[in-house]
Symmetry: C2
Subunit: 189 residues, 2 copies
Amino acid sequence: MNRREKIYKEALALFNKHGYDNTSTSKIAEALHISKAGLYHYISSKQHLLFLIHEDYMKKHFIPILEGAEKFSDPEKRITYFIQNYATLLSQDASARVLIHETRRLEPRYRKEIKRVWRRAFHLIRDSLTEMQASKKGKKLNSAFSAFAVIGMVSWTFYWFDYARKGAGKELSETFSEIFLRGFLKGSD
Amino acid sequence: MNRREKIYKEALALFNKHGYDNTSTSKIAEALHISKAGLYHYISSKQHLLFLIHEDYMKKHFIPILEGAEKFSDPEKRITYFIQNYATLLSQDASARVLIHETRRLEPRYRKEIKRVWRRAFHLIRDSLTEMQASKKGKKLNSAFSAFAVIGMVSWTFYWFDYARKGAGKELSETFSEIFLRGFLKGSD
């Protein structure tokens, strides 16, 4: 792990533990055993650091889920893959709580970058749903609202999941994909 | 509307518009044309005000949904009522965005009060689901995870809903109840 990655890892751990507001850049530098000037060699502000961590987290954990899902030509498999892997990610790591929560604090240009990734996820799901509708397998529901139903059902996990029970991730991801897919598909159970 | 209610209404409008952090008690007093001392006659701190508003909002808008749902003896109707009314509330008013988001800032004793209401909602849904399972209508899914699937799917609305399109609330609430119920119930569509 290079210096930059160590900074992201330590800062994210501190944000997760104490919250974004209660974690100063001085405390981050201290935990890394570097000077504050040394830390500012890598970042321009605490908010910039929050963005860099979020961007890095998405590149490592969230975008690979989208890429994995995109490989399936069957839209049902694409959505199942997305739901199960995103739910598993959320059940293994509470970072989404602080990252999603604090997104609105970011400068517009940073927020735009995060939103771009979410738009890609939204399109992946909505387009899969409209494909399922075109082949008469999916119900004639509003595909945008249905796509947000998927994203919301899974994302909300960070509000309530007990991270002491990480072993429950598999059951969680199967519950979500079963409910959503059987709810959206016509006459199957 | 009495003075106290006017304070809650104006402060919530300012929180919704500018965010909690960017709204000082001075600005709230100014908008109400009262002195800061006059405002502090009703509240002990800005955080206390946030709690009072949240508590008032739940009493007026959220608890009546739980009470309405509890009147149905049929668990399927109970859940449908909850989903449709909660989704409608979220589609008409963006206040949940700031209230839910800022809950974690509240002192533990205040947060406990908010959580108590959510626990009631959770139990209402989970118990309805286990009833549906007992009568063999519901699938054998984890009822707690399924209850959080409902809450998450609907609550997430405040993250993405376009409040310029309030007319879409009916379609939104029907989409959510259709997906969830048909996903949870056995062999129906």
